[in-house]
Amino acid sequence: MKLSRGSLAVWRRNYLVWRKLAAESVLGNIIEPLFYLVGFGIGFGAMLPEVEGVKYIAYLAGGTICYSTMLSASFEALYSGFARMHVQRTWEGILNAPVSLEDVVLAEWIWAASKSFLSGMAVLLVAIALGLAQSWTMIFIVPLAFLIGLSFAGMGLVMTALAKSYDFFMYWFTLALTPMMLLSGVFYPITNMPGWLQAIAHALPLAHAVALGRPLLLGHWPEAPLFHTVVLAAYGVAGFLIALKIFRRRLLS
C-alpha cells in the first residue's frame, strides 16, 4: 500500500515530463517504424519470395514491434534513468521525502515499460494501417508489449545501477542488444542460422518476444505461449531484483 503510493508519485513525475513532449514523442514513435517498415519491407521484400508463407513486410512487422519496444525500454531505463539517478540528482531529492529506494526503482521499472509500451503500440498501429494485421489475435500484442518492456527495462536497470557514466551504456547496446536483434529472428527465421547460433538464440529474451509477437500479428496462436511468457517475465524480474540490490549498495551505504 505504502509502496504503491510512493511509486505512483514517482511514476507520475516521469509521466508529467513525458506529457510535455508527448506530441513529438508519439509522432516519432509512429513515423520512424512507418518509414522503416515501408522502406525495408517493400524495397527489400521485392527481392524476396514469401518468408514462412507471408510477404516480407508482414514477416518483418511482428519482429519490429518487439525490437522497437525493446529499444525504447532500454533507452528509458539506461539513459533517462541514469540522468534521473545521477546527473540530475532527482532520486536524491525524492529519497529525502517519505519515499523509499524500492519505491523509486519500482516506479522507474514500470515507467520504462509504460513508455516502451506506447512505442510498441505505435508500431502495431502502423502495421494495422498497412493492412498487415487482420486477426483478433493481435489483441494479445497489447499485454505482450508491456511484458517486453518490463523484461528489458529490468535488465537495463542493472546497467544503470552499475554505470559510472553514459559511456558505459555503449557496451550494453553494442555487445548485448545489437547482436540480440540480429540473432532473435526479427529480420529472418532463426532456422536460417547454423545450429550453435540457434542454440544461443533460444536463450535470448528477444527471441522469446518474437516467438510470441509474430504469430499473434499474423493471426495464428504461438507455440508454447506460456513458456515464452515466463522466460520474458523471469528476465525482467531477475533484472529488477539484481538492479535493486546494486542500487541499495550504491545509494544507501
Binding site: G6, G93, L95, A97, V99
Partner: protein, 320 residues
C-alpha cells in the same frame, strides 16, 4: 501519511520538552575508515542547531544517517518520535531537507517542482495547491512560478529548494550548507527566511562553512572533526570557554618582525600564519597602544569569534 499521534498510540503528541531529534553514539565506517566515530546529538523543539566541521569531518554522513538514508554501524537514532532507520520513512514525512547541491527538477517549472514534490509526501492535490501558492509567496517567486529552473538565479534556486523543503509543513528542517555559493544579498535574504521559520516554531539542524552564519543563526552548535565531537554549546559561551575575548591581527609588511620581537611580551597566546600574526588576549589595550605607535604596521582589533574557535579546534591545515 504518518503522524506523531500514530507513533504513540492513543497518547498525546510529544510535548515541548521532548527532544525533536536524539542520536546516541552513532558510528559509521567506510572501507575500514571510521567517518563518524561516536556522535551524540539532541535537538530541542524550536531551536537552531549548527553542526560545524571542516570538509570530510563527517557532517553529511551524519545527516544521511539521521534521515535513515545510511545505516549506522552502531548507535541509536530517534527522529520526531520514530526509530531510525526502522521507521525512517514515517519520520521523513515530518522533515524538510535542503541538500548541499541543488537537485531541483530541471524538466519542470518552479510551480511544478513544488507540486510534484508535494506528491512524494502523499498530500492531496487540493492540499498541495494551497501550499504551493503560500510557498511561492514565501520564496518571493510568484512572478517566476511558470519559469523553468534553468532561468533562475542562484539565489532564486536556493529559495525554491527551501520552499520545496517546506511543502509538507515539516516540524524539523535539515539544511546542508544552505548559503554556499550565494552572493551577500541572497545570503542575507536566506537568513531572514530561516529566522522567520524559527519564529514559527520550526526546529533547524544546519551545517555550514560560514562561521558568521552559524554565530548569527544558531542557539547551540557542535564542532566535529574526524567523526568526533570537539566542542558543543551556545556560540558565545563556547567562544568564551576556549578563546581569549579579544584578538589583534597584525598583517602586511613588518608583521613577521613585530611577531618575533613583541608577540611573546604582549599577547596571552599568539600564532603566525603566512604574513599574519594572530594575537589573542584578555585585554588588548597595551598591544593596541604598541601597534598605534608603529604606523607602518596594519592591524585589526576585534572580538574573538567563532572562526577563531573553529580554527583552534580543527587546526589550520588545508583539507582535501
Amino acid at each position: 501519511m504518518g503522524s506523531r499521534l500514530n507513533a504513540s498510540g492513543n497518547q498525546p503528541a510529544p510535548t515541548l520538552s521532548v527532544a525533536v531529534l536524539v542520536a546516541k553514539g552513532i558510528r559509521k565506517s567506510y572501507e575500514g575508515r571510521e567517518v563518524v566515530a561516536g556522535i551524540d546529538l539532541e535537538l530541542a523543539r524550536g531551536e537552531c542547531f549548527g553542526l560545524l566541521g571542516p570538509n570530510g569531518a563527517g557532517k553529511t554522513t551524519t545527516l544521511r544517517m539521521l534521515l535513515g538514508l545510511s545505516h549506522p554501524d552502531a548507535g541509536e537514532i530517534n527522529l520526531l518520535g520514530y526509530p531510525v532507520p526502522l521507521a525512517a520513512r514515517e519520520a521523513r514525512s515530518r522533515v524538510g531537507v535542503v541538500p548541499q547541491i541543488d537537485n531541483l527538477d530541471p524538466d519542470f517549472t518552479v510551480r511544478e517542482n513544488l507540486l510534484v514534490y508535494g506528491r512524494y509526501f502523499g498530500l492531496r492535490e487540493a492540499q498541495i495547491a494551497a501550499r504551493v501558492s503560500h510557498l511561492l509567496e514565501f520564496a518571493a517567486l510568484e512572478s517566476r512560478a511558470d519559469s523553468r529552473i534553468q532561468s533562475l538565479s542562484g539565489g532564486m534556486k536556493r529559495r525554491l529548494v527551501l520552499a520545496r523543503a517546506l511543502v509538507n509543513d515539516p516540524d524539523l528542517l535539515f539544511l546542508d550548507e544552505p548559503t554556499t555559493g550565494l552572493d551577500p544579498q541572497a545570503r542575507h535574504q536566506m537568513w531572514e527566511q530561516l529566522r522567520a521559520l524559527l519564529k514559527q516554531g520550526k526546529t533547524i539542524l544546519l551545517t555550514t562553512h560560514f562561521m558568521d552564519e552559524a554565530e548569527r543563526l544558531c542557539d547551540r552548535l557542535k564542532i566535529i572533526d574526524h567523526g568526533r565531537t570537539l566542542a558543543e554549546g551556545a556560540p558565545r559561551a563556547l567562544i568564551a570557554a576556549h578563546i581569549e575575548p579579544e584578538v589583534v591581527e597584525v598583517y602586511g609588511e613588518g608583521a613577521g618582525e613585530w611577531f618575533a620581537a613583541e608577540a611573546a611580551e604582549l599577547c596571552d597566546r599568539y600564532e603566525l600564519h603566512g604574513e599574519t600574526a594572530f594575537c589573542y588576549l584578555r585585554d588588548a589595550s597595551v598591544a593596541v597602544e604598541n601597534l598605534r605607535a608603529q604606523p607602518k604596521l596594519r592591524f585589526l582589533h576585534r572580538r574573538a569569534n567563532l572562526e577563531d574557535l573553529f580554527l583552534k579546534l580543527t587546526g589550520r591545515e588545508m583539507r582535501e
